[in-house]
């Protein structure tokens, strides 16, 4: 008769670290960890020793000293008297501005191109595959340079606007000037009562959200489909415009005008920003288009057919049935594309856009000679931005995932 004995509990012996498969992998991982730490400590110590031997030391004091150089796009107050730290901050904000604009534009371009590439219209789908293949397969730096040089060589210089019979003229009733240095647009001037107009505008945005939620509830509870697009557009513009008229135009516009060498007044959108923004957007848009196409193709054709059998029109099938499911496939690679845009924006110096690589990693590095410090700081900046984007996009992804109950 055999009885099932308790498994023999063996006391732990040191040799088991190598011989027992339960511990062996841990042993090797531990050895590898120690080796990596030792190596990093060795490399770091070596660096510090060599720097000390050369009479240099790692110090971030330069961040507090006067920068001495000017920056052409200043989202916050900055003069050449400001510190290197502030210059780095201006650069960081400029990086975020171009990355934000490019992410949004690339998403719009990518979704449209991705959907249209699957269109039944032969010309449209071929045009879109042409766009995707052309832009995906040429490095983004080339696109930045192409767009920039097209811009500076085709748009008129400010001096062409001068004289009685100018070679160039402003657009939209003399309100927008397109030059090879950038685009000058009117700037809002906040007069008395403008807060009220702004309040009305914010209230109408809240109203749009509430209206859409109501429409959704009606659809789900009662099966009634309320049009949302045009009412949303109306809500967005009409109340604010009415408020502006009723209150006697508290928000006025400051128009750009040609004074001296340049246009002054209004808001300047630098040519370098435009070139970088569009190059990043159309380049990454091509990748996003492929993600969108992959996402749509991942949805079984049966879904489309079933929706069609219910009598839905093609655009509703796309927006109500296919895209919401496809989003689950699209979002994870989309996160990588947003990270790519942010990191690729460091090519800004090619067109003279002062992002954080241009200020901290460019001029500050050169003026102070603090190469190691600035590069470490740059790595920290990009790492932080990337991790933040990842973090928020993953939250979004979590919400879009199939809700399992």
């Amino acid at each position: 008769m055999t009885t099932l004995a308790d498994p023999h509990t063996e006391s732990f012996r040191l040799s088991m670290l190598l011989n027992d498969t339960r511990y062996r992998s841990l042993t090797f991982q531990f050895i590898a960890l120690v080796a990596i730490i030792a190596f990093m400590a060795f490399v770091g110590g070596n660096l510090v020793r060599n720097l000390a031997a050369a009479g240099l030391n790692i110090s971030y004091e330069f961040l507090g000293s006067q920068a001495g150089y000017d920056i052409n796009q200043r989202p916050i107050e900055y003069t050449s008297q400001s510190t290197h730290g502030r210059a780095a901050l201006v650069g960081l904000l400029n990086t975020l501005i171009v990355a934000f604009l490019a992410c949004i534009t690339a998403t719009i371009i990518g979704v449209i191109a991705g959907v249209l590439r699957l269109s039944n219209n032969w010309i449209v789908s071929k045009l879109m595959s042409f766009y995707v293949e052309i832009f995906r397969n040429v490095p983004v730096l080339i696109w930045i340079l192409i767009i920039f040089s097209i811009m500076i060589n085709t748009a008129p210089a400010p001096r062409d606007f001068r004289g009685d019979d100018p070679a160039a003229s402003m657009w939209l009733f003399d309100t927008i000037a397109v030059t090879n240095r950038g685009v000058y647009i009117p700037k809002p001037v906040w007069g008395e009562g403008s807060l009220l107009v702004l309040g009305v505008f914010l209230a109408s945005i809240v109203g749009i959200f509430l209206f859409r939620r109501y429409a959704r509830k009606q659809l789900f509870d009662h099966g009634r489909l309320i049009p949302t697009f045009w009412p949303s557009v109306g809500l967005f513009f009409i109340p604010a415009i009415l408020a502006q008229l009723v209150l006697g135009s508290p928000i006025s516009l400051d128009y750009p005008s040609l004074q001296g060498f340049n246009f002054r007044g209004g808001i300047t959108i630098l040519g370098s920003l435009i070139a970088l923004w569009f190059a990043l957007a159309i380049y990454t848009g091509a990748f996003i288009a492929e993600n969108v196409r992959a996402g749509i193709l991942a949805i079984s054709k049966g879904q489309t057919e079933a929706a069609g059998a219910l009598g839905l029109r093609p655009n509703r099938i796309m927006s109500l049935v296919v895209l919401p499911q496809a989003l689950r496939v699209i979002i994870p690679p989309l996160i990588s594309q947003y990270l790519n845009i942010t990191k690729n924006s460091s090519l800004a110096i090619a067109v003279g856009y002062m992002d954080v690589t241009g200020t901290l990693g460019g001029i500050t590095l050169l003026q102070t000679g603090r190469a190691i410090e600035t590069v470490l700081l740059l790595m920290l900046f990009y790492l932080t931005i990337s991790l933040l984007i990842s973090f928020f996009m993953n939250i979004f992804n979590e919400r879009m995932k199939l809700q399992e109950r």
């Binding site: 009479g55 240099l56 000017d70 240095r181 004074q259 340049n262 003279g352």
Partner: protein, 338 residues
């Protein structure tokens, strides 16, 4: 197996770390080649010619030092550096010296721990504008858009100049001189500012040079010269006195033509000391007695190098101006060889 790979890696790393940095002179001698940092290409100053051989005013300094140390002006490895990489390359020991239109400033000398060994070109920052703008002075440039090479001393001078004159400007930062010219000609900036010598050289290449004017203001001093790392004084002396040898040779009338003849001995004791037939200046530097003769044998004296690369007869067409010998009213002056 794993263990041995790891130990092997440790050994390799240890050997690399253990190699104490030898004195630059010994290192150059044992390598048999001088690593010299130059620009990525500025006409007249440092540029590879059609057959890929580096030529130019700054290149001549590299070759002279190589000849003084190794007896061969071709024993040079030219390392092209940008404005961005030049200091890192020198500080890290990738190059032994830098001869690259670099302005001698206090902070570079003191804070960045470099040693400027002299001035081989006295320059100053100027402004170029299209004639049609009708600007006569840099003080009329209020509101102008200015193209500028980023990370240079000119960038700081520009900010100072406009601030001290209480006028505003829009900077357009640009990485290389070629890009700056392209943008300037397209009208993307009103003004191009850099060292006056470079402005003159680039204007000479324009389709219509007369349509552009150089404004009278020179807003800065830009003494350009070779530099080495702090802390190796013997090496700094060698670079410094090689440049001085070229300058003294011009002053004393030693040229590539009469070099052989004079090195046999002359009745001027300073020439004899310079060329090693009298005294032991070479030994004091740790070099052969004929070190200066070798250096001068490469391209001749300072004046000859100037005329051959950037002088009035070249397309660059720079006048000697400040860079004439002190005996001709210029600033070029070498301490005596004594």
């Amino acid at each position: 197996m794993k263990k041995s790979v790891f130990l092997g890696a440790l050994t390799v790393a240890g050997v690399i770390a253990g190699g104490v940095q030898a004195a630059t002179l010994d290192e150059v001698k044992s390598r048999g080649k001088l690593n010299c940092g130059v620009t990525t290409g500025v006409p007249g100053f440092a540029e590879p010619d059609a057959s890929g051989v580096w030529q130019g005013f700054d290149v001549a300094v590299c070759r002279a030092v190589a000849a003084a140390v190794l007896g061969d002006g071709n024993a040079v490895e030219f390392v092209p550096t940008t404005g961005k990489t030049r200091f890192t390359a020198l500080a890290s020991g990738e190059i032994d010296m830098l001869a690259r239109n670099t302005t001698w400033t206090f902070s570079r000398d003191v804070d960045l721990k470099f040693e400027f060994t002299g001035v081989n070109y006295y320059d100053g920052q100027g402004f170029m504008v299209p004639k049609e703008l009708g600007v006569a002075s840099a003080k009329d440039l209020d509101g102008a858009t200015v193209c500028i090479q980023t990370g240079t001393t000119t960038e700081l001078n520009l900010a100072d100049f406009f601030r001290s004159n209480n006028i505003s400007y829009e900077p357009v930062p640009i990485e290389t001189g070629a890009e700056a010219v392209q943008q300037y000609l397209a009208g993307a900036c009103d003004v191009y500012t850099t060292d006056a010598s470079a402005l003159a050289a680039q204007r000479a290449n324009f389709e219509d040079p007369s349509a552009h004017v150089l404004l009278p203001e020179i807003v800065s001093k830009e003494p350009l010269g070779p530099l080495v790392r702090h802390g190796d004084n013997e090496w700094a002396d060698i670079v410094r006195w090689t440049l001085n040898a070229m300058i003294t040779a011009e002053e004393l009338g030693v040229t590539s033509v009469n070099l052989e003849e004079l090195s046999a001995g002359s009745d001027n004791p300073e020439i004899n000391r310079l060329l090693g037939t009298e005294g032991d200046l070479g030994a004091m530097l740790g070099l052969e007695a004929d070190w200066a003769k070798n250096a001068l044998g490469v391209a001749g004296n300072y004046g000859e190098v100037f005329e051959k690369n950037i002088g009035a007869a070249t397309p660059i067409g720079l006048a000697r101006g400040l860079n004439a010998q002190w005996t001709d009213g210029g600033l070029i002056y070498s301490p005596p060889f004594r």
